[in-house]
C-alpha cells in the first residue's frame, strides 16, 4: 500500500486511504487489548506498534493535505473527508488511551 503515489489518486480515494489506515489501526488497537486479556503480552505490544504505524500512514496523508491547503492549493471539501478526519482523530485518542491502560495493567500486574 505504501508505494501508492497520492498525486495519482482522486480526492475521494485519498479520503478512503485515510479511513483505511485509521481503520486498520482501530482494529489492531482493540485486538491488542484482547490479546493482553488473554495473556499474550508480546502479541499485544506488537499489535499496538503496528497500529501506530498505520496511524502514522494516515497522519502523513492528512499532513500532506493540510500542507497543500496552506500552500494555497484548495483542498476539495466533502462530508467523506470530515468522516475520514473523524476516524483518524478518534483512533488517535483510542491509541493514547489504550496505551495508558495497558501501562497501568502492567504496572499493577493485572
Amino acid at each position: 500500500m505504501e508505494n501508492i503515489d497520492l498525486e495519482t489518486l482522486t480526492a475521494e480515494q485519498i479520503n478512503f486511504m485515510l479511513i483505511l489506515h485509521s481503520g486498520n489501526a482501530r482494529s489492531k488497537i482493540i485486538q491488542a487489548l484482547r490479546a493482553y486479556r488473554e495473556g499474550n503480552v508480546e502479541e499485544s505490544d506488537n499489535l499496538l506498534v503496528q497500529a501506530e504505524e498505520d496511524l502514522k500512514a494516515s497522519h502523513e496523508i492528512h499532513f500532506k493535505m493540510v500542507q497543500k491547503e496552506a500552500s494555497g492549493e484548495k483542498v476539495e471539501f466533502a462530508l467523506l473527508l470530515m468522516h475520514a478526519e473523524d476516524h483518524l482523530m478518534s483512533t488517535l485518542t483510542m491509541k493514547e488511551l489504550v496505551r495508558e491502560l495497558l501501562d497501568i495493567f502492567k504496572q499493577k500486574n493485572l
Partner: protein, 102 residues
C-alpha cells in the same frame, strides 16, 4: 440475484463503495442487490444477504460476525485493502463473488 451486504462503523464509507460496485455491475450487465449498513445493523441485516463484506475498521469483529453468519451459511470477510483504499467497486464486487463460490 446475488445479495451483497457491506458493513462499516457508520455505514458511510461503504455506502460510497456500494455506488461504485453498482456502477460496475451495470457495466457487466449483471444483477445484484448491494447495500451498506453500520456496525450495529450488520448482524440483523445479514439474514437477507448471501455474503458480507466489512470495512477495515471493524476487522476485529470478523470472528464474531462470522459466527452469526454461520447460522445462514454465508461468509464474512474484510474488504481487500487495495479495493477499499482505492474505492475500487470492481475489485470489491469480484471479491464478493469469489466468496460466494461462483
Amino acid at each position: 440475484m446475488k445479495r451483497i451486504l457491506l458493513a462499516c462503523s457508520a455505514g458511510m464509507s461503504t455506502s460510497l463503495l456500494v455506488t461504485k460496485m453498482e456502477q460496475h455491475v451495470a457495466t457487466i450487465n449483471a444483477e445484484a442487490k448491494i447495500w451498506a449498513v453500520g456496525q450495529d445493523q450488520a448482524k440483523k441485516e445479514m439474514a437477507n444477504a448471501d455474503v458480507v463484506l466489512i470495512g477495515p475498521q471493524m476487522s476485529f469483529l470478523k470472528g464474531e460476525l462470522q459466527k452469526e453468519a454461520n447460522k445462514y451459511g454465508i461468509k464474512v470477510d474484510v474488504i481487500d485493502m487495495m479495493a477499499y483504499g482505492l474505492a475500487d467497486g470492481k475489485k470489491a464486487y469480484e471479491q464478493a463473488i469469489k466468496l460466494m463460490g461462483e
